[in-house]
Symmetry: C2
Amino acid sequence: MTLTVGELGESGVLRRILSRLDAAQVATLGPGDDCAVLGVRGELVITTDTMIEGPDFRAAWHSGWDLGWKLAATNLSDVAAMGARPIALTLALAVPRDTPVELLEAIATGMNHACQALAPGCGVVGGDLGTAPVITAAVTALGELSGRPAVTRAGARAGDTLAYAGDLGLAGLGLSLLFAEAADKHGNAQPDRVAELKSASAVNAETLAAQLTPTPPVGLGVVAATSGATAMMDISDSLSIDADRLARASGVRVELESELLLGGFGSQRGVDVPVAAMLTGGEDHGLLATFPADVVIPAGFAPIGRVLAAHLDPRVTLDGEPQEPAGWDPYVLRWPGA
Amino acid sequence: MTLTVGELGESGVLRRILSRLDAAQVATLGPGDDCAVLGVRGELVITTDTMIEGPDFRAAWHSGWDLGWKLAATNLSDVAAMGARPIALTLALAVPRDTPVELLEAIATGMNHACQALAPGCGVVGGDLGTAPVITAAVTALGELSGRPAVTRAGARAGDTLAYAGDLGLAGLGLSLLFAEAADKHGNAQPDRVAELKSASAVNAETLAAQLTPTPPVGLGVVAATSGATAMMDISDSLSIDADRLARASGVRVELESELLLGGFGSQRGVDVPVAAMLTGGEDHGLLATFPADVVIPAGFAPIGRVLAAHLDPRVTLDGEPQEPAGWDPYVLRWPGA
């Protein structure tokens, strides 16, 4: 029998969710009181991110587990991008009253599995349940710097090597595939098509996995920091947009090289990825970092360009040509049908 | 000219919001990077809470400033309820694309003013902007324990005095007033009626202020902790529900006394508040605490009952009679028209 959250009520839903969550190592008091209590040392980093049904995801494409995984992964990558180790997440979840409780359990399980896989020791320490017209999830993530300075996006210097770790452009190809093959002409998501697409080819399966259940290289954030990264950020909107942000914050220009991009990321998980997709895809959640020229780029990162002195636009060039930032702006870009 | 968020775009909206926010004392790096960086010491507390247009508030009743104030206040009270000092908030805000930018600026200003008034030194350190079919705001709050143990809801002991600080039942009366006088028969909020109601009488104005812009006694959280409070929580759903939770967590029974309730809270801000409203009102966000019998109850708190040994229901009695928990369950209770 499928219970809805309206039938089970808040405390019953909460019990079901909490039973799916492992304790965070840092939590000296877990969920259930007004606050959780965390034993932390030194400087922390904190970030928050929301996923809302419609603008950010389609329930017909994302299972609850996928959604929970992606919620955790996208926040963990922001913590990693500061050179920090993720220690705790909170989850504020609001859903329509007729939502099956199973969906919330699956979201919790997906978050828990993402923490185990991407950031062992990190866990959900608290949350909030409510109602909303569509599924609405806000996650806040905390990370420990363990005495190291945070790696901001403002530290890149002329002469540095620009490097990247993670999938690049694949998530954007996944979104295009969904709209091309799993939506009607109005952009409405078609249920059941995702499973069909995944089983149709390994290329489809990998492309969709990058979009639906991204696996950012969270552990490489600390590695980059200890290796001497001068600047770092995660790519959320697109390489061209986020490289532009890094360049502006650092007061430099970033020169991307298509040969390096194709060498490092032209084939990912058996999928051919064109340079245009790498530049504008968005939702990659990999790590864009700069390293001094005399530093050995840590394993997992591949060089994709270099940092040049500049005080004027363009901030990003590709093989010497100005590269217009293009990708995701939540208030401007419209999905088909959104 | 009124710009919408869709016309201004993410980075423009962000700049407008950030200009309304004072820095948190604890922030060594503020908003603008993948994460904020916080210089913290010892154990922290963390909590998260969401407000969604429709189930949690009506845009026709709440100005943006009110909404921002309430968002901050309700999270600050959860931090206070652990005996901690609030140090930082994050805000994840999603709105329809045709929302005027002014509304987001007003929300930011309201949050900033609530921090200044209720928890000086605390501020918004980071956030996230997105789109949603209705206004959706999730706040996470952090607090410092400064070496003290957290005051949980599980520490009440038989013989303790039960005390309360803050408004009690007034916010619930305010909600009833709004539905009676500022909504149509379908429960749809009527714009402009709030201003009319406020100016009609001081009683109305105070009752509505308790609902729309609550002022929880945030500073009294640390005071209660240093005075020896054995248990504490903030009242969010109602006194009868939250006293039941405290009693269950502590393995005790809570005896409320109507004479004490009326003596301490029968008249608040010039408004007569009946005991029934105190018991079931909800959204008070004051502090319910227990103190050993030999402790002088700190100023700002008033005794409302005592803690008795018990291992069975009922967990809450009023003048010796069982008191059924009643108030707010987001998944069960329906507002008129919701």
